[in-house]
Subunit: 96 residues, 2 copies
Amino acid sequence: MIIEQMSIDEQRVAIFKALADPTRLQIVRTLYQNKKEMSCGEVGEQCEVSKSNASYHFRTLREAGLTTLRKDAQTKYIQLNTETFDKYIPGFLDTL
Amino acid sequence: MIIEQMSIDEQRVAIFKALADPTRLQIVRTLYQNKKEMSCGEVGEQCEVSKSNASYHFRTLREAGLTTLRKDAQTKYIQLNTETFDKYIPGFLDTL
DNA sequence: ACAGTAGTTAAATAGTTATTGAACTAATGA
DNA sequence: TCATTAGTTCAATAACTATTTAACTACTGT
């Protein structure tokens, strides 16, 4: 389901589900600490996750509205969507 | 596993898992809006959840450190553990 | 055109989670 | 003592989730 079509509580559930996994928490922390966008490959390498598993987790984060994607040729760059964090869990990123 | 024995990230995962459910979100909101402790029965009734299902959700929240329990004879009173919220997701309760 | 790079998708599998109903414990009050 | 109240536990079930491997798409540089 598209996040914009969800009720607020459904969005909250999607966000908490997305963060309720050690690998995705690690991905979020990596993106937060790097301060700027990173390619999928860079993130996957730093978090020691296989390509396909990383892709799965990236999708979960993106579908929860926690990240955004920029495409440049064959490379995709991921960035935290701070709007979503600020709206639903303000202050969380600073606890990482 | 006991929450105190978990790594910080394991605690985060337990907390996000606990909040990644519409029924438990409703329970947390009910407890937050009531401002004071409530009996299990009161919460279950307001959230329209069966006794046994409510008990299951109460345990999940308690094991994540999100609530505390006070026993008085046959009644148990639940309260939000604001320490945990403040430590891991400061500001979250005010978004409810 | 072709080998290499970057990432997605699909199928299979194992493990986890939410819900229900019935049986249970423990305290209350007539 | 006995019925009632408050909540827990257990077993069964259905649905969902994370991981792996292999096959795939699409773009790049020679």
